[in-house]
């Protein structure tokens, strides 16, 4: 069995009366692009936060790159891109990337990361003056500057124009080809089709898992969107 990049076992997390994650079990082998697909409020962000120790499960276990969380050391091998482009608005693009490189130990790869997101020519621009798309790219550069073995991307293409979205996905694919495991959350069906495997999540439940073809077959439908609706109805009934 290939070593798992992510191994989530029966994780439950409640916030008051709300069960954000309900006994979720999910495994992502190394080098895979795994898509976490679900509507807003389905538990995607909570699950990703559990993978970096920001959310402590009420039950179950989270193992990342072979290390059971909480484990501070393993976080240096994980790249995390938050839903909003969390950057320092008063710093330049390069200063932001350099800062996250320093705290994660990747100072030598700043140029590489900025080239990867095509921001090297704009490296001196102050982040507050950038467009939304450029901020997203800068945020991605901050997440991958230390060459993580696992990249967690929380809705990375929200508010991004179609052209940039295609570019970003090409990059994610390139990284996966080079051996990086990627977990990406989305509620956009067409980009989910680019993932090797998908997990459909709703109301904190992992409804189904599989490749796009497998999911369509499971639901006996032609479109992923229909598969999602059908599978969540089946689960509810």
């Amino acid at each position: 069995m290939a070593e798992m990049a992510i191994d989530v076992q029966s994780v439950t997390k409640r916030f008051g009366d709300l069960t954000a994650l309900d006994s979720v079990t999910l495994r992502v082998p190394r080098g895979e692009v795994y898509g976490l697909l679900g509507p807003n409020g389905s538990g995607k962000t909570t699950l990703i936060r559990a993978l970096v120790g920001l959310v402590e499960p009420d039950a179950g276990s989270v193992t990342v790159l072979g290390r059971r969380l909480p484990n501070l050391g393993v976080l240096g091998r994980v790249g995390y891109m938050t839903q909003q482009a969390a950057l320092y608005p008063d710093l330049s693009v390069e200063e932001n990337v350099r800062f996250f490189a320093a705290i994660n130990g990747g100072e030598s790869r700043v140029r590489e990361a900025l080239d990867f997101v095509d921001l090297w020519p704009r490296r001196a621009s102050v982040v507050s003056t950038l467009s939304g798309g450029m901020r997203t790219r800068c945020s991605l550069a901050c997440a991958l500057v230390h060459g993580p073995d696992l990249l967690l991307l929380d809705e990375p293409t929200v508010g991004v124009d179609p052209q940039l979205r295609i570019q970003l996905w090409d990059r994610f694919q390139r990284m996966a080809d080079e051996g990086t495991s990627i977990l990406v959350s989305s509620h956009v069906m067409d980009e989910a089709e680019r993932c090797r495997r998908l997990g459909l999540i709703r109301f904190g439940h992992l409804l189904a898992e599989g490749s796009v073809a497998e999911l369509k077959e499971m639901a006996h439908v032609d479109r992923l969107e229909d598969a999602f609706i059908k599978l969540s109805e089946e689960k509810a009934s």
Binding site: R49, V52, G53, V78, T82, A86, Y88, N104, C142
Partner: protein, 368 residues
């Protein structure tokens, strides 16, 4: 101007506050707290400074004045020897003392002038004023009793242990404010900066990195301390070179105390920002953290004149020690050999360490 649109804005504002219970509590609670504090401070059976009476007079007059002084409401008195009185001034337990020399009665009879020696501690003008006032009232009372005996002039010979008549109000307040300004501004900036980190989402990123909580807190402390030191230099230079605030102490010591206060303020800012969700809430700490300290740290009202219960509170506030230390250095010329100054430095250093440890312990890695 559309009334509907204007009202929409006003109503929306009130609706927002309806859900922010904390702001509401502060809006209506803080004024009562501060006014109560002020009321208690000024009317709560305020204490009066203590002055010594050294009566060496071989005649009657010394005793008569002593009796008058003992009835004074603006000071409490203590009959002591000249040696003890001098020591009392040095250690700050006496606001001053009056000495009636052996020939006090005789000289008054010969010269028609009453000339007691008044020695004042001098570092706090209000306190010195109370002593002088008590004395002149005693003599005024005496003069009215002895009416017809011819005009007797009251000519005290006043000496100051520290400071003196050449010092103006700014000289007394300047020392305290140098400390306060640095403490206050650094505290606010740190608290707001730390909350911005939370608001813009970068704190979440930091928490998802291998950074330890203590590394974040100490990193913040060092960064802001650099800024605070520059500010401390500026404040000090402006106070001494432009405002010419009286200083007989070592500038290096003043600076050291300022830096310690700045570090304590940085750490307090980080620590308290843990209890606020937004920058807006952080700003609300100002009336709660800063104002009571300004009232109770002895900046405006001498601690020795506060009601007893407030004196206890004053003695646990870090700013009290900072203000004390600044005055000791600048007005009294204290150095680190003084045990009072050692205490001031130790308390501020200890407070800084306490809040930084508390901040690191309070910083949550978990979002929930």
């Amino acid at each position: 101007m559309s009334r509907r649109r204007v009202l929409a804005i006003s109503v929306r504002l009130l609706q927002q506050f309806r859900r922010d219970h904390r702001t509401l509590a502060l809006l209506f609670g803080a004024p009562l707290l501060i006014l109560s504090l002020l009321g208690y401070l000024l009317r709560g059976g305020a204490s009066v400074p203590t002055m010594g009476i050294v009566n060496q007079d071989s005649g009657q007059l010394g005793q008569v004045v002593t009796t008058q002084l003992q009835q004074s409401k603006s000071v409490s008195t203590k009959l002591i020897s000249a040696g003890d009185a001098e020591a009392g001034i040095k250690d700050g337990s006496l606001a001053g003392y009056v000495l009636f020399p052996p020939d006090f009665t005789n000289r008054a009879a010969q010269t028609h002038a009453v000339t007691p020696e008044v020695h004042l501690e001098g570092s706090q003008p209000q306190v010195s004023q109370s002593v002088l006032q008590a004395l002149s009232q005693s003599f005024a009372g005496l003069a009215s009793q002895a009416s017809g005996a011819g005009a007797v002039r009251f000519e005290p010979r006043v000496t100051f242990q520290y400071g003196g008549p050449n010092l103006d109000t700014l000289d007394y307040f300047g020392a305290a404010f140098i400390g306060l300004v640095v403490f206050f501004l650094v505290f606010v900036i740190t608290a707001v900066a730390f909350l911005r980190e939370r608001g813009q989402g970068t704190l979440e990123r930091l928490m998802a990195s291998p950074l330890r909580r203590a590394e974040i807190v100490v990193g913040y402390m060092l960064g802001f301390t650099v800024l605070a030191i520059v500010q401390a230099i500026e404040v000090l230079a402006f106070s001494l070179l432009v405002l010419h605030v009286h200083n007989v102490g070592n500038i290096g010591l003043i600076f050291l105390l300022e830096v310690l206060m700045a570090i304590a303020a940085v750490n307090l800012g980080i620590f308290l920002s843990m209890f606020a969700r937004t920058e807006f809430q952080a700003v609300q700490f100002i009336p709660l953290v800063i104002l009571p300290q300004v009232l109770l740290a002895g900046i405006i009202f001498p601690i020795s004149t506060e009601p007893g219960a407030l004196q206890i509170l004053s003695h646990v506030l870090p700013l009290t020690y900072a203000v004390n230390g600044m005055r000791d250095i600048m007005i009294k010329g204290a150095d680190l050999g003084w045990s009072a100054l050692q205490l001031d430095f130790a308390v501020i250093l200890g407070f800084g360490i306490l809040v930084i440890v508390a901040a690191a312990a309070t910083l949550r890695r978990r979002i929930a």
